[in-house]
Symmetry: C2
Subunit: 317 residues, 2 copies
């Protein structure tokens, strides 16, 4: 399968989906009467917390990995991440029978380190963010492994796009589809699938007030960075990349930002009412709906619940 | 619809199912690769935590309520419960447009009180267990409401039986089906449906060591009581009733008891691996499998996850 060097087409996404089907779950869509009542909208939740490794990141990692040549693959995969992308790359490598090397900061939560090791990966610690890329380069030199970027890669974006593709197959005529935005891999993939399969559906990204770089980038027309990353939504601390921003600028209708309190409240509501476990990052789009009820009143809103990997010992409520 | 004065037949359960279909959810069945790996068995989880009011109790309450005559129904429903049965009766009354009166101990957790009030019920507090039945009688005298027993009632049992009926439709040829046992409403209903729809499937109940009255009752041939009820599995503190014990004695193959630590560990595993929220009581059958791995090795085991109503502020891990 050829590597994508362009914005994924509809056909690219379909082919990606067929190629990764064995490596991922078709995740269920859930509804909640009580959250419909609270929000005033009709909400359709795409449950990527039930995805393999507990997050949508499995789609993008699988999509990138299966496109590597035998030669690129044989020495394994490497990435830097302390989050779900780490587990996704580790699991993809395991499924393809090659080694995985994951660069993580020294202060990464032990639960994330252990989960990634659980998929057979070797963890290489780096001191800080500046040290991250040199450490990856050193791993590549030592092992010959191939780097998989967490989001700024069309192959990864095509994988993440399969999530909205599934949701748009399950639910017709959504008024809005929402995804959280960090590096923008999921949001850009969601925007592409929506344009291809349901062009009249609005695409809205949601992010914490504290890391509102995507919102500012939409205003300024250029990639913005964040001065603080101190949000509970740990999956959304990253900036957009060029490739993801390019797609988002063209195909995303709006970005809504929300407070930390609203994120925690929305997360708790999902746990209590839907009886499912979601990460704080996941709760950001629902928080955006609940903070803007009049805007979404009576609308059919698709929300991608991105993942469920939380440390049960450190809950915010 | 006629009230059941006998052990529910297959036809009774089918008719019950059709009659309550509008009031309940057909709940999903979930599997988990990682729990299969950990247990060595093939596990099929029936997710009653996604049931209306967050627990299977909705089935039994609906089944009992819809069989009442207009005259019995018009003054509303009354029960005593501080748990899921309270919410189930409240919700059933709400759906049928009649009042609900729920007798709860003064020290009932405020989260349960509020949830039950949320379904429009009036809460009447009683001082202690001895005061419970007189309080119910006083409510009946004052209001004319009709009492719905939490488990020792064939109409309730027929409702709970619809849960295993659904699971046995979804999964063929289970070797074992397991349910937790408190008062025995769910276990006796499960046993009946299993005998009717999959007679070769073994039926096993699971309960905490601390409240092992069902296990002792199976040995002694008579209903036993518990000296302590200090288990985290708060849904399983009750003794069997005559009607439930009669069915369990005939149709249940075994009762397995488990430690408190095993319950907490099993609950945590479900939260972490399946990303769903279950109550401690739910985790008891999985704990029984994990404590007896050789016994269940390679078997297809159906497990009813009974409910997901937990106080997120008081987690045991």
């Amino acid at each position: 399968m050829e590597k994508l060097e362009r914005i994924p087409t509809k056909q690219d996404i379909i082919e990606t989906y067929e190629a990764i089907a064995e490596m991922i779950h078709y995740t269920p869509m859930m509804m909640s009467e009580s959250l419909n009542q609270i929000s005033g909208a009709e909400l359709f939740f795409k449950c990527e917390n039930f995805q393999k490794i507990g997050a949508f990141k499995m789609r993008g990692a699988a999509s990138a990995a299966i496109r590597l040549t035998d030669k690129e693959l044989e020495n394994g995969l490497v990435t830097h991440s302390s989050g779900n992308h780490a587990q996704a790359v580790a699991r993809a490598a395991q499924l393809l029978g090659v080694p995985a090397y994951i660069v993580m900061p020294e202060n990464a939560p032990s639960i994330k380190v252990e989960a990634t090791q659980g998929y057979g990966a070797e963890i290489i610690f780096c001191k800080n963010v500046e040290d991250r890329e040199p450490t990856v380069r050193a791993v590549v030199e030592r092992t010959g492994a191939t780097f998989i970027h967490p989001y700024n890669d069309y192959n990864v974006i095509a994988g993440q796009a399969t999530c909205a593709m599934e949701l748009l197959q399950d639910v017709e005529e959504l008024d809005v589809i929402m995804a959280p935005v960090g590096g923008g891999g999921l949001l850009s993939g969601t925007a592409l699938s929506t344009r291809y399969w349901s062009p009249s559906t609005k695409v809205i990204g949601a992010e914490p007030d504290i890391v509102n770089d995507a919102w500012r980038a939409m205003q300024s027309g250029q990639i913005e960075s964040n001065t603080s990353t101190d949000t509970i939504a740990d999956g959304l601390r990253t900036n957009l990349g060029e490739k993801t921003f390019d797609i988002i600028r063209q195909h995303v209708d709006d970005i809504i930002t929300v407070s930390e309190e609203a994120i925690i409240e929305a997360m708790k509501l999902v746990w209590e009412r839907m009886k499912i476990i979601i990460e704080p990052s996941c709760a950001v789009p629902l928080a955006a709906v609940l903070q803007n009820k009049e805007r979404f009143e009576g609308e059919k809103v698709g929300i991608i619940l991105t993942g469920g990997n939380v440390d049960l010992k450190k809950l915010p409520f």
